[in-house]
């Protein structure tokens, strides 16, 4: 016996979550298993489609229009532009993200002071867009060294933003420790918990707004690092806006990231509502196959091997960083099903001498047919009931193109749709 489902998705990132959601919405009995917590908590929470061409040209204004010019092996070309649009509608339906009113990329300031072309952004980042010409005050916190507000402001100015931007650093009321966790700030603001200001207790939201008011000039928009609450982030922002009398926005931060955590929560909630099952914390370590079909995969739990069986499987384990692709000095491998990954025999061919050059390793990944089934070295379908989605796929460099989220959503959508169709 085994734990059974119709579709088993391996991987809990954006690609795995989207494919499980799509398959469940198509009526399949879906189970998602993920080794560790979703990699979304490492992500900025911004959802990019295509920011730059593979040749580094950009920022791109209309990502959909630019997809036709991508090389043939690019995942967007595999699934088609119309499918990318459909998959983004599914994403829009289950999140409260902005940016769906236009095909054009939005320009969102990052914590480093660059401007990033992105297709969807959290509501909390909306007031911060670089295309808006209202003046901005960025507020940094002494105890939060990951965001240097004056430095970020200077970078934005140098990038030529159409507004005045100034950075100020204040102490978070209550004088949290220099290494306080982002969840500590979020919890205090979520609950409007008491903080001590000059010996008197005050709600964290009020106290923070008062400190900002002492450094604010006439700016109509105030940007904070992304720590403004977790469960009640809209309420935190609304309270600050009222007390400061200006629009408030969050600047997306590096890992660990609250916007990423919130996106993770929203997607898992949608998955739960769609009736899917999921489990995190244990890796898939082995599988049984009968010729062309995968029969059972095994999840390891401290030595115990738990069998999970399904009719259809989706591999969404991530790329080199997510450990869905591994490499040693000899070869590059896909560790779960040992799918073929094309790479040069000599490892010195895997990278470019120029640090910022065109590195072959960035596009390493599995190759698939049109329905996203991984192919062997001889271009035959490896398993008839296995599909791959997200950054385990080869043929594109998401870091250079800023296309990681879009490819994950689009290919996850297609893999989930096909798996559900086959399972019934």
């Amino acid at each position: 016996m085994a734990i059974n489902s119709e579709v088993l998705v391996i991987g809990g990132g954006l690609a795995g979550l989207t494919s499980a959601l799509k398959a469940a919405r198509e009526g399949a009995d879906v189970r998602l298993v993920s080794y560790k917590q979703s990699s979304l908590r490492h992500a900025s929470g911004l959802v990019d489609l295509l920011g730059y061409t593979p040749d580094g040209e950009g920022p791109i204004t209309d990502p959909y229009a630019a997809m036709g010019d991508l090389p043939e092996e690019h995942p967007y070309r595999r699934v088609g532009v119309e499918t990318v649009r459909e998959s983004m509608s599914l994403f829009d339906e289950v999140t409260d993200y902005r940016g769906d009113h236009t095909d054009t990329n939005a320009l969102v300031p990052t914590h480093g002071g660059t401007v990033k072309p992105t297709a969807r952004y959290p509501t909390g980042a909306a007031a911060g867009l670089a295309s808006d010409d209202r003046d901005v005050l960025l507020v940094g916190l002494e105890s939060l060294v990951d965001f240097d507000a004056p430095h970020a402001a200077a970078h934005l100015e140098a990038a030529g933003v159409p507004f005045d931007v100034r950075g100020e650093t204040i102490r978070f009321p209550g004088d949290l420790q220099a290494d306080a966790k982002i969840t500590r700030y979020a919890k205090l603001l979520d609950t409007n918990g008491d903080v001590a200001v000059r010996g008197r207790k005050k709600g964290a939201r009020d106290a923070l707004a008062e400190r900002v008011n002492t450094v604010r000039d006439t700016e109509e928009r105030i940007g904070f690092p992304a720590i403004l609450g977790d469960a009640h982030t809209d309420a935190v922002r609304a309270a600050l806006e009222e007390k400061i009398g200006a629009d408030v926005f969050e600047v997306p931060m590096g890992p660990p990231s609250l916007p990423g955590l919130r996106l993770e929560d929203a997607l898992f909630e949608a998955l739960d509502e769609a009736g899917a099952s999921f489990e995190t914390g244990n890796p898939v370590v082995d599988f049984d196959a009968d010729g062309e079909r995968i029969e059972t995969v095994y999840i390891e739990k401290n030595g115990a091997k738990i069998p999970n069986s399904a009719d259809q499987y989706v591999l969404a384990t991530g790329g080199l960083v997510g450990k869905g692709i591994e490499s040693d000095r000899e070869s590059v491998t896909e560790p779960v099903f040992d799918c073929h990954i094309e790479h040069g025999e000599d490892r010195y061919e895997w990278f470019d001498g120029d640090a910022f050059g065109d590195h072959p390793f960035a596009s390493f990944g599995v190759e698939t047919d049109e329905t996203l089934r991984p192919l062997t070295a001889d271009s035959a379908v490896q398993f008839e009931n296995l599909r791959a989605a997200g950054s385990v796929l080869g043929g594109y460099d998401f870091a250079a193109e800023k296309s990681g989220s879009g490819v994950s959503i689009a290919t996850g959508y297609v893999a989930g749709e096909n798996a559900a169709a086959e399972a019934r």
């Binding site: 560790k36 966790k181 982002i182 969840t183 609950t191 660990p256 010195y348």
Partner: protein
């Protein structure tokens, strides 16, 4: 992109260290190094910190990343480095383990560091040490109390005595002591006829199910202290449900799983108990039994903490063959379909507000009750969210930790109040007592609902 100049001159060449040199084998399985396995895999992404329920409410607590890999790094560079006393504020929820993208064994490091702190640095005559030792050795007190359950139930919650306990020992007077059952699980088990009776029941049931009468279906039940002394109804439900599926149950000799001892750094105590448990379980595992626990902290200890901390003969085999009760049925029986085809009425036909214990979460079991019972007619189940209950075994019993423990639990209490049901459900006995304490709700174990649904 960075502003740095592209180093276009860089031309990589083969390492020129000679043909015999294999740089990946610099440290071939050396035991001389005190590098905790995995400490170097930590790249300080801090995602573990976002999971820590203590760091979320306590500004003084430096979080799991500091307690684990950073303390080990400090120890490497400074021979006199002493373990930071903040490690005693870690509640051993073990949530950080599940977060690390590099597989750093964080909770193992915390347990080891806490053990070292307690044995090397803590004053053995301090009230804190004595108090922690009493709390950690709950089994000993429970064994005595259960001899005189009525007296114990009265005495342990007697106001003046509790005031005295807080003043002298630092055990909070805010909490109600768990009630001791008048008949322990083991007393019930023995009176019922022990393993022989269970074998007969199982054989009869297999015949009814059309299975081979002598089919090899047998489990060894690790009931733990709580379902023995305090909630024997959970243990009884576990026996009846397993017999219903045709399993023979045995209840071997056992001590405390060690969970409260790990959390208090009492590793020597924990080892003594672990040795007894592993010895009796490994004999049975050799004979083809699987070990089953109904408490998720007990299964966590047997599967993960023992092999991580102790080198006991047979422990790996026991860990590989240990399962949580519902998980086991999910693997081996068609329990999902059975639940879909039945219904529940009477006392357990309720809407339940379900909380997944941290130690269930860590075994990947946080969703199984919700997913199984959502198809059950007559009862409803609602997940009250991912927050920690805050009690963490003995943690919330300490006077100085009580407030923090309630602050951590606040989110769960709120979600429970908002949930449709007014009966709680969880696998963990101490989470259950925190749920009761914070909301006044009665709390049930999933096995009780399963018994009501499947066993007539």
């Amino acid at each position: 992109m960075s502003d740095a100049q592209s180093p276009t001159e860089f031309d990589p060449v083969e390492p020129n260290t000679g043909e015999d040199f294999e740089p990946v084998d610099v440290f071939p399985d050396s035991n001389d190094f005190d590098l905790r396995p995995g400490a170097d895999s930590c790249f300080k992404c801090s995602v573990c910190d976002t999971n820590c329920p203590v760091a979320e409410v306590d500004d003084e607590f430096p979080g799991p990343k500091f307690q684990g890999p950073e303390q080990w790094r400090l120890k490497q560079t400074d021979d006199d480095y002493e373990i930071d006393d903040s490690v005693m504020s870690c509640s051993n929820c073990m949530r950080c383990d599940n977060a690390c993208p590099s597989g750093v064994p964080l909770s193992q490091m915390h347990n080891t560091a806490r053990g070292e702190y307690v044995s090397e640095q803590m004053d053995k005559f301090s009230i804190e040490y004595v108090r922690n030792r009493i709390l950690a050795n709950y089994r000993t007190s429970a064994a005595i109390a259960s001899k005189v359950p009525k007296l114990a139930n009265w005495g342990m919650n007697f106001g003046p005595a509790r005031w005295l306990m807080e003043k002298t020992l630092g055990v909070t007077k805010e909490r109600e002591f768990p009630e001791f059952a008048e008949e322990t699980f083991r007393e019930w088990w023995a009176a019922r006829g022990g393993a022989d009776a269970s074998r007969r029941n199982a054989q009869q049931r297999r015949e009814e199910l059309g299975l081979d009468r002598d089919a090899d279906k047998k489990v060894a039940y690790f009931h733990g202290c709580y379902s023995n002394y305090n909630s024997p109804n959970v243990g009884q439900a576990m026996v009846r449900v397993f017999e219903h599926y045709g399993y023979e149950v045995v209840a071997p000799e056992q001590k405390c799983s060690g969970t409260p001892m790990f959390a208090n750094g009492m590793l020597d105590d924990a080892r003594r108990h672990a040795e007894v448990n592993v010895s009796s379980m490994s004999d049975l595992v050799e004979q083809g039994y699987d070990a089953i626990a109904s408490c998720t902290s007990c299964s966590m200890a047997l599967r993960q903490e023992y092999p991580e901390l102790f080198d006991i003969d047979g422990i790996d085999k026991v860990a590989e063959n240990t399962f949580e009760s519902l998980e086991y049925l999910r693997i081996h029986e068609d329990i999902k379909e059975d639940i879909q085809e039945t219904d529940v009425s009477g006392e357990l036909a309720e809407e339940f507000a379900y909380h997944a214990p941290c130690h269930a979460r860590n075994q990947g079991l946080d969703r199984q009750s919700v997913e199984l019972f959502r198809d059950l007619d007559g009862a409803g189940i609602e997940d009250v969210g991912e927050s920690c209950s805050g009690i963490s075994g003995t943690y919330g019993w300490k006077e100085e930790k009580y407030e923090k423990s309630m602050e951590i639990g606040e989110e769960m209490f709120e979600h429970m109040e908002h949930a449709e049901g007014e009966v709680g459900m969880t696998e963990c006995p101490t989470c259950a007592s925190q749920m009761e304490h914070g909301t006044g709700y009665e709390v049930r174990h999933p096995l009780e609902l399963l018994e009501a649904a499947l066993v007539e």
